[in-house]
Symmetry: C2
Subunit: 268 residues, 2 copies
């Protein structure tokens, strides 16, 4: 097989993530939700590819806007917003070290484009948020406060583990990649996902159901790892409760991308 | 969602085909084979995209060689050889009418490139075949007999329903697309596949087990349509017997591509 380009690697990461066998609570190869289907994730990956190819010619704000604009509009709603927040700097920087530099270079205009992208999607936000993406005044505020796209991520980092990756050196992406690299083969994705779930409360769950629920889901994942609950039972439990660790899924994609760049073999 | 490019449409067709719910005997969303996995089909689709983008600048022989070279080498063996035989002229011609013209323009050099591509893969061939792809003398013979790539397809058309598409105006591709267009939504792919299985003996099965077996599989599909056998039971029966209608799967991909170009909506 030919060496994969960065854009090919990013697209493959999205497809490997969504087609992993069991990622409790999330859409995977064996699960659809009623509105969002497995197929919407495939289509989103196909459509994102064109933007991935053009990342070197774009700023991160522009790339984010293009990715959302190009992939949005199928009936499946938001599929990969958080994944783009992570993949775009990782592509631009050709890995974590470069991504850390790339996010430092973002500008106020990138922040504005990011907010405009936000407005095109249906991403879950905290309602009490001062900077409401649906409020045009937020854009004015970004310009007045001279906030860069990195500043926006700093602002969200307390309540959003995806945004937090921009501020902490892509720490969980690093962790995810390291877990994958313990063992070649795509089956390791399921193991990696469960270990992240058992170690970190998912902020997507927290936004939907509150922080306590996110912690209790984490504890259930710990019970699975300790052998006290079967993985498939835990999965059912999450699906029935509408509990989907969507932020960890985004980090999982970024981890697969990073591991692939660093030589991890999915195919063995 | 943005209007899809030809290359995006082709890649999405490959992904929608392999992730359809039940295509009896074939790898689908819920089935792997032991050696070839669902994931190999995803990776092959990701890798083929680059060649799809470059089809306008290549001859069909060159495109075939590039597609096989770029996608081959994962441990899953041949995944999309037949699909490329159909998709590449359909992309070049922007649909069936143009594809029929494109195949008429193929040259002896295209035939040579096609044979070289063939040699890189592990496609099932009839052992008694006079023009053995693994025999370097075949290339000499192509040149001596001045056979174009279309002539090669004519040569194979009796025993290979994919090759036959080049010689009969993409008749089954047309049929597949027409069945899809009866009803929007990706669920129609399963219906289309079963109807093709019930109407045509698959030549991939015929090469593996003999023509009589291909006919008996067709008859079992007819029984499913008549309500005398459940789809899932038929699927199990095929899987247990190692019976995979791979040629019909290739035609299914070409049918999805054609239907999408003609306005069929997968997402509803």
């Amino acid at each position: 097989m030919s060496k994969l380009s960065l854009a090919e690697t990013a697209e493959l990461s999205m497809l490997l993530e969504v087609s992993a066998n069991i990622k409790p609570g999330n859409i995977d190869r064996f699960h659809d939700y009623e509105d969002t289907k497995f197929r919407h994730f495939l289509a989103s990956a196909v459509l994102a590819r064109d933007v991935f190819e053009r990342v070197p010619q774009m700023t991160l704000g522009e790339a984010m806007y293009a990715a959302v604009e190009h992939t949005n509009g199928h009936t499946g709603g938001n599929t990969h917003f958080g994944a783009f927040i992570l993949l775009l700097p990782l592509i631009k920087g050709k890995g974590i070290a470069g991504a850390c530099e790339a996010v430092l270079r973002t500008t106020v205009e990138d922040a504005v484009r990011f907010y405009q992208a936000f407005g095109k999607t249906q991403v879950r936000v905290n309602r009490e948020d001062e900077m409401d993406v649906n409020d045009p005044a937020s854009i004015t505020m970004l310009r007045e406060k001279q906030m860069t796209m990195l500043d926006v991520m700093r602002y969200s980092s307390e309540t959003d583990m995806v945004a937090r990756e921009w501020t902490n050196g892509f720490a969980l992406t690093r962790k995810a990649a390291d877990i994958l690299k313990e063992k070649d083969g795509a089956d390791q994705i399921q193991e990696m996902f469960l270990r992240l779930m058992a170690a970190y409360p998912d902020t997507f769950i927290a936004k939907k159901f509150g922080y306590a629920r996110a912690v209790s889901v984490m504890e259930r994942a710990q019970l699975v790892r300790a052998g006290g609950l079967s993985l498939s039972r835990f999965d059912e439990e999450c699906i029935l409760g509408g509990v989907n660790p969507g932020s960890l899924a985004d980090i999982c994609i970024a981890g697969i991308f990073t591991a692939l760049l660093e030589g991890w073999q999915w195919d063995c």
